[in-house]
Symmetry: C2
Subunit: 592 residues, 2 copies
């Protein structure tokens, strides 16, 4: 029963689908021929995936509901109280080496391909997104510091993070500056000893305070006294909760304090905080890299985080699908339309066409989202280990796909969760079942790490036009490669949609008016996202080929659903974008 | 600030819009020329609307959040505990006469037109849907008993309900029979004294138990011993919580017991219960009307309830829109795309095109839903007081529109609430603001009173084909009348969509295969719903005419949004339906 606290792996994620995507489609095994991954093999990949599945089932899924019902609170001593299962789960996760899965062996990591690492992490996102977020933030933080932080910061902060002793955050937003980081007011003043005095307030900081581990490493965007206005004047600082001595031992408490916890609709297992830096005079911070380059560094982490948000949304969509599928198979209700015998027994609701629609839609969204996230991860691997030319192309394509990888699953896998509730009927609306929590948890994803509206501006305003349109060109080339290996109804529909994408993008930018070009960027993002996922469904079908069996027939059915029910939606959206409609631009807001 | 507990009328509903719809569009004043409403005038209507607004602001809105945070619980004495504000609010509501607004003067009612009564009630649905549900259930219950119950049941149960002393419920679903009422197992055995012994379990009973008022009047579907199988064997019974003596005084406790309260995602202010009838031998029930006709009677109430659900969804969409509009006007963030000066001050987010999109969409959905609900209510008035021919046509058109009036707002005004959160960014995801509750509350509406999937089957499988397609014909005639009075881009688009609707309906039913015809009934429902709301937007525009001012310009802007951004979505949906796609029918569910 899907309402039970014991949630089997089969309701969390599909091992078979992960294997299909990794080995039958993305050919991750071939990566073991590259130097960075030479120590690995299909066996080591499988071992990591199996271990992830086991830990997710045993240590993450069981307290997902409890963490939701017992959200973090501030205790009498001012410390944040979480349910004890969170710390235990993170301990097991870290001891299994999963926090350092993708990191260099020199840092104690497993040096796994990103593709395998993200597949492994998806188990935790699907089992318990609230608890999984803590190590995810830490991984992103560590990744940034490894790239830009220098040896001292790596030794003092990254190593303890990868040992699970320290946790990480990213502190970008402020009460008056969320989407518009140019307007942050947090200040960093240089001190004589080379450190900085950081003062300001940071908002929406996930994992911003708790008693997990020994320390919290905040990555804080702030402005130096001589900073130019806008995003070009933002620098990045490490501001630890506790100072760290040269020998690695903890020093005194830094001037960082918890102002309050946010109380959210979902995602309750993760603390989300308002933090004050420097209330007692100034928090000690350490500059990361060069002055005024903080936003660029942060975007390194942010782009990873955006793909991570998409994967998280997908994971919730996936587990919701599996829950509602199990329910639809066991719940009997009604008869087929054609059966007029009132004495006939009731049938499982999976027999009703409209329930099938809701299940196929969820499958198409969840498996499509997983394909998208893993494809992007595979591009990361190519960027890191490919031949220079291929690596550069992979990086560019990844740039174009990032806003889609964030926004598409956070829109459609939220819709999947909506459908999972609907399949359950009234039961799905109760907290006795799990699907309502998935829906509440997933509702965060269209908001954080850049709202979906921002992703639309990023895609149409930056990514497809970068380097004279090379981003779009690479995307079209990649899709065309797939089309050249495909025939039939789906390929034809996709080819027409791609041609339309190119045409519409040209139309939009032919006017020399950025405001007009971007007025309908969300419709552009949604249409392009559906087109990209249709492409990845065709890719999956090509990997299926003529293989037989229920699993492959399931892929065929979901692809058929996507091409017949979903892809046609892009027509009116591209028409709208191409019409350069001025409804939004010309609106006088006083009439609202 | 929209996070405050004091919520002004301007954040709940728009008095101006109600006046426009009632007086400038639906010409409700003309109803005062009819005998039933002869005592009324614009002044009495306005007085009711103003009183509703005041009571909603003063007694319903202030505890909406508190009721959500303190859901009903079972106390140590086994009694249901609600926050005290609920009883107080209902007392004021009843004392103002609002519970009996639409009822006959002979029953102590105000004999208001349904259109005015529903407009009045919308204030309460928007201010506090959880508390408003109690009197709404009572009104529906009373309405049914007045029509089918006979004098004794009216005197014993309806009068106390309309005095606010008794409350009402409807008990249809059972744990094994939700959407499929044919399979209910609750039994009613005749006793020698003319009463019935009722035994069985009823699920999802809103208002099923509480200590508000003196008594609860359950309307229970059950089967007599000789009942034929299926829906033709269902009878309807009054089963009170406390028996009522002939003199109206309360007798002993009936054999009805609370098994448990459901814990829901939203809509928490309303108790929702599992009830056991006859655990101690048999609950005493009184047959309503004739045996085996219970479902037909219940559907009288159900059809009203469906329009009520749509209005409730609309009301939540409306208040969410007003909250997010107020937020978008005060929250500053970022600069226009074209402004490259990093030192320029931030602008209110209502200036950003994508925020405008989210506001216009909400406005188009909420005002469109309100137009739809009030149009249906106007049809009820026509059905009750029109000339015989007009009354019959109104009844038929109402039948066709009912599944749309239920499903369309519950889909699109939920989406409006989704957008209201998005406009608020991270703030909207916190429980400090109101919009996340609207979203959780509204998620119930696509489920109860017949899931939206059921509405699709009802529309395409019954309503449009009834009496050789007379339902569809009447709808097309009504739309054509509007089109004949319209010109321009919108009329052209709507005319094309209506032609397509007729064509597609013909195609679907030309195959003589009901399973195939209904395989894509949800897409048909969604497309027809959008078409109907486009029609009502055109109707509103015709009522606007060439009037000037911000209010009318707002109507023009929302209509423009709906015709440019929304109506085009129906194209691919009608194409899908017309293709008689077999994806859902032919699916082998074992491949999922």
């Amino acid at each position: 029963m899907s309402s039970s606290a014991d949630i089997p792996a089969s309701l969390i994620l599909s091992r078979r689908d992960l294997e299909f995507l990794l080995y039958e489609w993305l050919d991750v095994e071939s990566l073991t021929q590259r130097k960075r991954f030479a120590e690995h093999s299909r066996e080591t990949f499988d071992a990591v995936l199996e271990l992830s599945e086991q830990i997710a089932v045993k240590h993450f899924a069981p307290h997902n509901k409890k963490a939701d019902a017992n959200e973090p609170r501030v205790g009498d001593d001012g410390k944040v109280v979480l349910i004890p299962e969170v710390e235990k789960a993170l301990q097991v996760f870290t001891e299994a080496g999963l926090i350092a899965g993708q990191f260099d062996e020199s840092l104690g990591g497993m040096q796994l391909p990103t593709t395998v690492s993200k597949a492994s992490l998806a188990w935790f996102q699907a089992a318990n997104t609230g608890t999984a977020t803590y190590p995810f933030l830490t991984i992103g933080n560590a990744n940034l510091l490894i790239e830009y932080g220098g040896e001292d910061l790596i030794d003092r902060y990254v190593r303890p993070m990868l040992e699970g002793r320290f946790h990480g955050t990213m502190c970008l937003s402020e009460p008056g500056a969320g989407s518009s980081l140019a307007y942050i007011t947090t200040k960093a003043t240089p001190r004589d000893d080379g450190t900085y005095s950081v003062t300001g307030t940071k908002m929406w900081i996930s994992g911003g305070d708790h008693e997990l581990g020994e320390n919290i490493v905040h990555l804080v965007l702030a402005k130096l006294p001589d900073a130019p206005a806008g995003v070009k004047g933002i620098s990045l600082f490490v501001v630890p909760k506790y100072l760290v001595n040269e020998d690695g031992s903890l020093g005194e408490r830094n001037d960082v304090s918890l102002v309050g916890l946010n109380h959210k609709m979902g995602y309750r297992g993760t603390t989300n905080t308002l933090l004050a830096f420097g209330e007692k005079g100034g928090a000690t911070g350490y500059l990361v890299g060069e002055p005024h380059k903080g936003l660029a560094y942060m975007f390194k982490m942010m782009n990873e985080a955006r793909i991570g948000v998409g994967m998280g949304a997908t994971a919730l969509g996936y587990t919701g699908y599996l829950h509602s599928l199990a329910y639809a198979r066991e719940r009997t209700q009604g008869r087929p339309v054609g059966d007029k015998d009132p004495a006939a027994p009731q049938v499982p609701i999976v027999d009703h066409p409209d329930v099938r629609r809701m299940l196929l839609a969820q499958k198409a969204y969840a498996e499509g989202g997983l394909a998208l996230g893993l494809y992007c991860s595979r591009l990361v691997d190519e960027q890191i280990t490919g031949e220079p030319d291929a690596a550069e192309r992979a990086g560019f394509l990844l740039d174009v796909l990032t806003p889609i990888a964030k926004a598409w699953p956070s829109q459609w896998c939220l819709e999947a969760n909506n459908l999972a509730i609907q399949v359950h009927g009234g039961y799905g609306y109760t907290r006795d079942y799990n699907v309502e929590q998935f829906y509440r948890d997933n509702r965060l994803n269209p908001i954080h790490e850049g709202t979906n509206g921002i992703q639309g501006l990023d895609l149409l305003g930056r990514k497809v036009v970068a380097q004279n349109g090379r981003g779009l060109q690479l995307l079209v080339e990649a899709i065309t490669t797939t089309l050249d290996a495909s025939t039939g109804e789906y390929a034809e529909a996709l080819r027409a949609a791609v041609n339309r994408l190119v045409e519409v993008t040209g139309t939009v930018w032919s006017q020399g008016d950025p405001d007009l070009a971007l007025a309908n960027s969300t419709a552009y993002l949604e249409a392009t996202g559906h087109l990209v996922v249709a492409w990845l469904w065709l890719e999956q079908l090509n990997a299926v080929g003529d293989k037989t069996g229920a699993f492959y027939d399931g892929k065929r059915a979901a692809a058929q659903y996507f091409f017949r029910y979903e892809l046609p939606k892009v027509g009116p959206q591209f028409d709208l974008v191409a019409s350069l409609d001025r409804t939004l631009l010309d609106l006088d807001p006083s009439v609202l």
